[in-house]
Amino acid sequence: MPETTAVSIRQLSKSFADVEVLRDVNLEVAAGDVVTILGASGSGKSTLLRCINWLEQPDRGSIHIAGERIGLDDSGKRMGAKALARVRAKTGMVFQSFNLWPHLNVLHNITEAPIHVMGKPRDEAETHARELLAKVGLSDKAEAYPGTLSGGQKQRVAIARALAMQPEVMLFDEPTSALDPELVGEVLAVIKDLSAEGYTMVIVTHEMSFARAVSNQVVFLDKGLIVERADPESFFDRPSTTRVQRFLENHG
């Protein structure tokens, strides 16, 4: 597999009880790509994203992160906890509800994994963390605790926390869905900056104009199937399926 492939998903299927949430999904994300996953709620888009770092275990299929298989080893056996953690570290995830650790201040939320997973020296990790805080516009909040931050600030810290592990791919699971409308813009602006810097990202979102501006590949999921994939211009201006046309009419 060429090294320029950040994420490679082959024939991924998953069911919850009797409901098939993903059916034979194939997706390639090249290094530097920004892929947005669109779809109605319940279409399986969050599940797909959460399979990429094995927070959900697919029933069938394979996922490779930068050429390395996640979750199962080459003989198809489940990975041990340590091996799984090591592959997971190649991905960074930003959650809908931020999921910061409330007992640690902003700086330590960011340095925790670099120090205790990568074994980075503390001063080096903190220097890097302060650079990342500057990047997300929160240099003055290093010592603040998550409980004192607004939703938009929390999400920007969460982005910095994920970036601190220098992942091969950033995964965003509806990063603005839990935010007050006036705070959405500051988070989207940070993600746009990252795409301009060449970060590889897979983004599940409901923000249509953002998806159009930021991505170079749009994937539309319906009932667990990829029904359309295209560059953003074709997707939004000339959707080829009636399903996507209907979706776009409803999401103006």
Binding site: N53, K82, A85, K90, N99, W101, A113, R161
Partner: protein
């Protein structure tokens, strides 16, 4: 009450305090270990621990203390009274603490655990760096509550001859024929110890609530 009676009372209070403190210290850590082993769901061991917890929670402290003290010699173990007392209190409080820790685990935020795993933390690092520091704060009110139950139950060890704060009042009144003054002082001393714990518990609760928001 004369000077030697006061001295005896304070000695009794000291005995109650140190025996309880040792049992609490061991019991809090042992309870965490029992909770961790139970979460690992190791067959047989898990059933044994369930049996231990239900037995220890169902047995009165007096009975447990007597049982340990009297059964030790038949097993060929010579047990000091204080050690037998500590063992009885520890076996009792460990079972309750294990349940407190276990509910701390069960109620721990799944979101925070996922965030930890997503950064590449192993389950052990997640436990040590993310869960335990918060569980120590959120479980503390329950643990302190159990500590004060233990201290109030500690006179049970008098049954095997440990001269604790309650037992000593008997000894004093056997000489003075005035049972009321020593027991009154003992009550005040117990209230001071428990009062200190209640004060600690209130502070712990405030910290736990701050973490929750």
């Amino acid at each position: 009450m004369n000077a030697s009676a006061w001295q005896m009372l304070f000695d009794g209070a000291w005995t109650t305090l140190w025996i309880s403190a040792v049992s609490i210290a061991i019991g809090v850590v042992a309870g965490l270990i029992v909770a961790l082993i139970r979460l690992a769901r190791i067959p047989v061991l898990d059933q044994l621990l369930v049996l231990y917890i239900s037995l220890a929670r169902a047995t009165p402290l007096v009975t447990l203390a007597l049982f340990i003290f009297l059964s030790a010699p038949t097993l060929g173990i010579g047990l000091d009274r204080s050690v037998a007392g500590i063992l009885a209190l520890t076996l009792n409080t460990t079972a309750f603490n294990a349940e407190i820790w276990r509910s701390g685990f069960r109620n721990f935020s799944r979101d925070q655990r996922e965030a930890a795993m997503a950064t590449g933390m192993t389950p052990w690092i997640t436990f040590r760096r993310i869960m335990l520091p918060q569980m120590m704060i959120t479980s503390l009110p329950g643990l302190i509550n159990e500590m004060s139950f233990l201290i109030k139950g500690s006179p049970a060890i008098a049954v095997i001859g440990v001269v604790d704060l309650t037992r000593v009042t008997n000894r004093i009144s056997a000489v003075t024929y005035e049972p009321l003054p020593p027991i009154l002082v003992a009550c005040v001393l117990y209230m001071m110890i428990i009062g200190a714990l209640v004060w600690l518990q209130r502070r712990a609760e405030r910290r736990a609530n701050r973490l929750a928001t």
